[in-house]
């Protein structure tokens, strides 16, 4: 069974600094997608970034980038130039082409002014 693990329940970063959130996963599939979702206090699930497993190039969306290590089954999220609005819960998620996403337990990010 596929699993997603986020080992950091909480992280803090100073405004304008860089922070990396960790995610590991376990699967026997070769083709799948990985995601990072942001959940602010409003509880809306907002897609931050998506990575296709067959693409070796790491995905980037403005200040957000990932370090995808397929062999190590690792998928970390780097947030550069952190802003107060980045404070939220961040969930790592996995989908192998089935109907369901499998989420990690989340990392609460605090941004310090």
């Amino acid at each position: 069974a596929q699993t997603v693990t986020q080992s950091q329940p909480e992280m803090s970063v100073q405004e304008a600094e860089t922070v990396t959130l960790s995610c590991t996963y376990d699967t026997s599939e070769s083709d799948y997608y990985l995601f990072w979702y942001k959940q602010p206090p409003s509880r809306q699930m907002i897609l931050v970034i998506r990575q296709e497993a067959y693409k070796q190039q790491n995905a980037t969306e403005n200040r957000f980038s990932v370090n995808f290590q397929k062999a190590a089954k690792s998928f970390s999220l780097k947030i550069s130039d952190s802003q107060l609005g980045d404070a939220a819960m961040y969930f790592c998620a996995y989908n192998s082409g089935t109907y369901k996403y499998i989420f990690g337990t989340g990392t609460r990010l605090k941004v310090l002014a």
Partner: protein, 113 residues
């Protein structure tokens, strides 16, 4: 752009009562998904539908049932409510051809007292 619509946004019910949550997918999306997010937890997949047929099933209690209608909207029916059913219920939608790209609604917050 149109997003996934969920109604109601908030619902308060007593134990043993029944609740119905509604989800209206993004126009032309033919697949809907339901997730349950308990307090302090990650979203858990409940069930999904494609073309009015159940396409996958997760950890959905037998007290819950769901269906998708010809206009693709979906309803989640919950009976004999328990305190533990208090959670945020997300609906997501996608094209069947792209299950990797699920768009989440704002969620329905159900409180059982």
């Amino acid at each position: 752009a149109a997003g996934v619509i969920q109604s109601p946004r908030h619902l308060i019910k007593e134990k043993r009562e029944t609740a119905t949550l509604k989800c209206y997918p993004i126009p032309r999306h033919d697949t809907v998904y339901w997730y349950q997010q308990g307090p302090g937890q990650d979203p858990q997949f409940l069930i999904s539908f494609y073309e009015k047929m159940q396409s996958d099933k997760g950890s959905i209690p037998d007290r819950f049932s769901a269906q998708q209608f010809s206009d693709y909207h979906s309803e989640l029916n919950m009976s004999s409510l328990e305190l533990g059913d208090s959670a945020l219920y997300f609906c997501a939608s996608s094209l069947r051809s792209n299950v990797y790209e699920q768009y989440f609604g704002p969620g329905t917050r159900l409180t059982v007292t």
